[in-house]
């Protein structure tokens, strides 16, 4: 028995899925959530996805309020800490347009100068609303396990 082909002409070639060329930075026409990550993390189970999304909504709403308060009080380290945590969770769930805003807040918090933090926080709040609408529509239209991810 030979275990593997010696050359590239052997027909034993696994699927060659087409590589997708992604833009380096998320553009406005990029969907706000990479549903594939959410779907994978919940094994395509609609109930599990709802539970995870609810957790994200609750946690992020609180964090955005904390960020607003910290920016108003000019507490840079609080801004860094909350933005860091929020960015971690959002990146894990594939919130591709939301994360760069949080990273910028984290950066400003770490530098100690919250120059444009208030405006960025407003942008983040707007983006979060879009995420809520997007996921709300996806979850409401899901009729069977895995449908939400399509």
């Amino acid at each position: 028995m030979k275990t593997t082909p010696d050359n590239e002409t052997t027909p034993a070639a696994p699927t060659a899925p087409s590589p997708k060329t992604d833009a380096s930075a998320p553009a406005a026409d990029v969907v706000p959530v990479e549903m594939e990550r959410l779907n994978e993390l919940t094994d395509g189970d609609a109930a599990s996805m709802r539970e995870l999304v609810d957790l994200f909504f609750t946690q992020t709403s609180q964090q955005l309020q904390q960020l607003e308060a910290a920016i108003r009080a000019n507490k840079a380290d609080d801004v860094r800490r909350v933005a860091h945590s929020c960015a971690g969770a959002s990146a894990t769930l594939g919130m591709v347009r939301f994360v760069p805003l949080l990273r910028e807040l984290e950066k400003q918090g770490a530098s100690g100068t919250l120059t444009t933090a208030a405006r960025i926080c407003e942008d983040a709040a707007r983006e979060f609303k879009l995420i809520q609408n997007y996921l709300g529509t996806k979850l409401n239209s899901a009729t069977s396990p895995g449908d939400a991810a399509r």
Binding site: M1, K2, T3, T4, P5, T10, P11, A12, A13, P14, T15, A16, P17, S18, P19, K20, T21, D22, S24, E36, R37, N39, E40, L41, D43, G44, L52, L55, F56, Q59, R81, H84, S85, A87, G88, A89, A91, T92, L93, G94, V99, P145, G146
Partner: protein, 391 residues
């Protein structure tokens, strides 16, 4: 006589299953890709299909959809060979109409035969005279002994080919790391993917479960990177390099027949953020690895003081105590002088890499990590620890 069609791109795997089923009295035909398989299905009219999901040209899922779209084959049993680490692909296969999904990692020819008997019955219809070599004519003990001998022979042949496989993998990896354009990077990732796919299938039928597991996890990571090149980062490239190195270690140390299972392991996850914690636990469960998770580094230190762990995942930025501080402290505990510690951090700049090493960490992974990347790392650390206990 019952008829089975095998659609499998790996000639060796296909031949092994084909021979086993034919010896047991089934009439078997084989195709190497989806299009050829569909064509053969229409003329051969099988009673069941064995289908690999990772096919060239047309994907396995598309083949299932085509089959289900034809009235004559709408209810034909389709046994799918899958990679357990490709969760989304398995979901797609079920949705498309697969009858049964089995993992290539631990499906021996004997397992496939038994599954086929349960699905479509024995090879020969009841009432027909039995002939020599057809199932039922040999005592079970003789068949079992023959199966064991056959698998031992497969394993022996596979083991002799492993040095060549490792040399190929290292060569491709070197070219991948040197690549300076996305096109060449993808070419080398595909090369690695093809060879690892073959290692997975061959190790699975030879009963080398640990090698098959590691190859299956790496195959899933490579597939993800090939499909989404934006995920090719210094972190993922480093993980691929470590995995190839570790396969070399497994090729030397993981081929004994009595070691062929994923050993139970005790893993601690420390992260103050619940969604990240959940993602880590999910990634570990992909490899059937159980873990304990805590959100407070002080609670983690207490657990570490009282319990042995095989692997620890640490977030860096936590309130009260950073991951680096916790790592430094745990290194003073007699139980954890050598326990592998992996930092999970968004702060992957050089300064923090240095900090992770200074604190006594063994490895790190950048947030947001690919779930399968973390799975690959966990498998490496757990298997290495079990096969080569710390001195």
């Amino acid at each position: 006589m019952k008829k089975i069609l095998i659609i499998e791109d790996d000639q060796i795997v296909s031949n092994v299953y084909r021979n086993k089923l034919a010896v047991e009295g089934y009439q078997v035909e084989a195709a190497l890709d989806g299009e050829a398989g569909l064509k053969l299905m229409r003329s051969f009219q099988p009673d069941a299909i064995v289908l690999d999901l990772m096919l060239p040209k047309m994907s396995g899922v598309d083949v299932i959809k085509e089959i289900r779209g034809e009235a004559d084959f709408a209810k034909l049993p389709i046994i799918v060979f899958s990679n357990t680490y490709l969760t989304n692909l398995i979901q797609d296969a079920w949705k498309a109409g697969a009858t049964k999904c089995v993992s290539k990692i631990n499906c021996s020819p004997k397992d496939l035969l038994e599954l086929m008997r349960r699905t479509i019955g024995s090879a020969v219809s009841p009432g027909r005279p039995k002939v020599d070599g057809v199932p039922g004519t040999k005592p079970a003990a003789v068949v079992s002994e023959a199966d064991a001998e056959f698998q031992a022979e497969l394993r022996k042949t596979l083991i002799t080919s492993l040095p060549g496989t490792l040399a190929f993998l290292r060569g491709s990896l070197k070219s991948l790391v040197k690549s300076d354009t996305e096109v060449t990077r993808l070419k080398h990732i595909h090369e690695l993917y093809r060879r690892i796919h073959a290692v997975n299938g061959n190790a699975g039928i030879a009963g080398l479960v640990q090698i098959a597991h590691m190859a299956a996890a790496l195959e899933a990571l490579l597939k993800e990177l090939y499909e989404k090149p934006k995920n090719i980062t210094s972190s993922t490239l480093r993980t691929i390099a470590t995995a190839v190195d570790f396969l070399g270690f497994l090729f030397e140390h993981g081929t004994q027949s009595d070691e062929q299972k994923i050993p139970p392991a005790s893993i601690l996850v420390v992260d103050d953020e619940p969604i990240s914690r959940r993602a880590i636990i999910y990634a570990l469960e992909k490899a059937q690895l159980q873990s304990v998770s805590v959100d407070d580094p002080n609670d983690a230190f207490k657990l570490l003081s009282e319990n042995q762990f095989d692997l620890v995942f640490l977030d860096v930025d936590m309130p009260g105590m950073t991951g680096y501080e916790l790592c430094t402290r745990l290194r003073h505990l007699p139980l954890h002088k050598k326990t592998p510690v992996v930092f999970i951090t968004g702060l992957s700049d050089f300064e923090n890499r240095t900090s992770s090493m200074m604190a006594g960490g063994n490895d790190f992974i950048a947030k947001p990590f690919l779930f399968i990347e973390l799975t690959v790392k966990a498998l490496i650390h757990v298997l290495r620890g079990k096969l080569q206990p710390a001195k």
